[in-house]
């Protein structure tokens, strides 16, 4: 609830950006990253989704910030659920969407590195 009412890291960065859709409801989210020396120094999100989408994106950006690209690429839906101390099962699609948006941004970053 706190991550919904006080979401962290709202916004967009001029860096690798991933967009994902929640197949359950059509909500969309983007997560964008700023990367320095293979480390995520900042992560921001935007979503027009429900409370779950906002909370999950907030959690995902918190998890991403400070991680290496290698660590971050292992982030799963369950990591987001755990970070939020659990989530109603009907909101798992929101966590999946946030994880996918994050992973897409990471893939873009890894692609541009190579």
């Amino acid at each position: 609830m706190d991550h919904f009412l006080n979401p962290r890291n709202v916004g967009i960065l001029d860096g690798p950006t991933g967009t994902a859709e929640n197949s359950d409801c059509g909500d969309v989210a983007t997560i964008s990253l700023r990367i320095e020396e293979a480390k995520i120094v900042d992560a921001r999100f935007q979503t027009s989704g429900c409370s779950g989408a906002i909370a999950c994106c907030s959690a995902a950006t918190e998890l991403l910030r400070g991680s290496t690209l290698q660590e971050a690429s292992l982030m799963t839906r369950e990591d987001i659920v755990d970070y939020l101390d659990g989530l109603p099962s009907d909101k798992y699609g929101c966590a999946q969407m946030a994880a996918m948006a994050g992973l897409q941004a990471i893939h873009q970053a890894q692609g541009s590195e190579e």
């Binding site: 609830m1 919904f4 709202v10 409801c25 059509g26 027009s48 989704g49 409370s51 989408a53 009907d90």
Partner: protein, 383 residues
């Protein structure tokens, strides 16, 4: 908490609560018992029947049967009519596509039992616009007022049409009662469902009006209470509370309607003035005086409701995402509104206990909520 969700449930009226208390304490007894306490309970039930009948525009209270609420009344009217075995060639049910789930789900159930179900479609304002050609219709069911949009439907003309077709007509007046004049006898309907808790009575009580010439099989069989029409020990305290609040409302109905309309109009006009993307859904010319269904494009109604809740204002989505299924409102879907409007629908429903200050505070809370959620959304828009 600023409570603006009266269409979901109205707070228990003080007179209703006081009237109920004896029957939750020393006076609790079975209204079918022969002893003094039983007879007193029975007397209280009959007084309540008169009080509720008066608010419904029913001259003969004997035509009212108490039930467990609006849903039971709706389900009974539909299933009870089709349980009757005479006239088997009349096998069709005609319902509007914006009925409460109690009617729509029962219609689906009846369809599974082999009943031919037809729907009256609505336009984007939720107005009925096409009556299917009558096809051996046994029962028509059209609500008096819609729970989400607040739209009012002309029961008098629907009842005339049904009569001409030789069909019975049921109306769900759960949302209309206590907000606008409900005049069952003048409407000429055969069945009418009402609920206590929507008007400030207790939850778990309702009634079904049954026209004396209309035949309907019981839904609940057993001890033969309510003249054999609805078995089960009477919920005396609940029924007494229903009667008490009906008596409070009946002489003040018009004044109450005006108060609600003043509050609702203040709220709505201030919101529309402050938020130019917001617009009102429904039939603005024929609407309950207390209801305002708004579309806030680009953000989720669910997120608005939860954030307003945190800000101390209780509102509801357009019945969307009910029980977290994520399924859009059947009413708004029937109105063929875009997904953006459906997802961003929020409902304010005020009551006479609300104040003008509360309206203004709710407007401020909504403005802040919408601005914040727009910031979170940024350039993202759902399709």
């Amino acid at each position: 908490m600023i409570y603006l969700d009266y269409n979901a449930s109205a707070p228990l009226n003080e007179a209703a609560k006081q009237a109920m208390l004896p029957f939750l304490g020393d006076h609790s007894a079975n209204a079918s018992s022969l002893h003094r306490l039983g007879r007193e309970a029975r007397k209280a039930v009959e007084k309540a029947r008169e009080q509720v009948a008066k608010l419904m525009g029913v001259v003969n209270p004997e035509n009212l049967v108490f039930t467990s609420g609006g849903t039971e009344s709706d389900v009974w009217a539909l299933r009870g009519v089709f349980e009757e075995k005479h006239n088997p060639e009349r096998n069709s049910l005609l319902v509007s596509s914006v009925e409460h789930p109690a009617v729509l789900d029962t219609a689906l159930w009846l369809a599974e039992q082999g009943i031919n179900v037809e729907y009256i479609e609505v336009d984007t304002k939720g107005c009925l616009y096409r009556l299917p050609v009558a096809n051996q219709t046994r029962l028509v069911s059209v609500m008096a007022a819609n729970n989400e949009t607040g739209n009012l439907y002309n029961l008098k003309s629907m009842a005339l049409w049904a009569r001409r077709e030789g069909a019975l007509i049921h109306t769900d007046a759960v949302q209309a009662l206590g907000k606008i004049p409900v005049d069952v006898d003048a409407w000429g309907v055969d069945f009418c469902s009402v609920s206590a808790h929507k008007i400030g009575g207790p939850q778990g009580v309702g009634a079904l009006y049954i026209h004396p010439e209309a035949t309907i099989a019981p839904l609940i069989t057993g001890g033969g209470q309510e003249s054999g029409r609805r078995s089960g020990t009477l919920n005396v305290a609940g029924i007494v509370g229903f009667g008490a609040v009906a008596e409070v409302i009946a002489p003040r109905l018009n004044e109450r309607s005006r108060t609600m309309a003043t509050l609702r109009d203040r709220l709505e006009s201030k919101i529309l003035a402050a938020l130019d993307t917001v617009h009102v859904l429904g039939d603005l010319e024929h609407r309950l005086p207390n209801t305002s269904l708004l579309a806030v494009p680009g953000i989720k109604g669910e997120a608005i409701v939860l954030e307003m809740d945190a800000a101390g204002v209780a509102i509801s989505t357009g019945s969307a995402c009910s029980s977290g299924t994520g399924e859009p409102s059947s009413v708004l879907t029937a109105m063929k509104l875009s997904n953006v409007k459906i997802q961003g629908a929020i409902r304010f429903s005020v009551g006479i206990e609300n104040t003008e200050e509360e309206m203004d505070q709710a407007v401020s809370a909504l403005i802040q909520t919408v601005e914040r959620l727009h910031t979170v959304a940024g350039q993202i828009t759902n399709v």
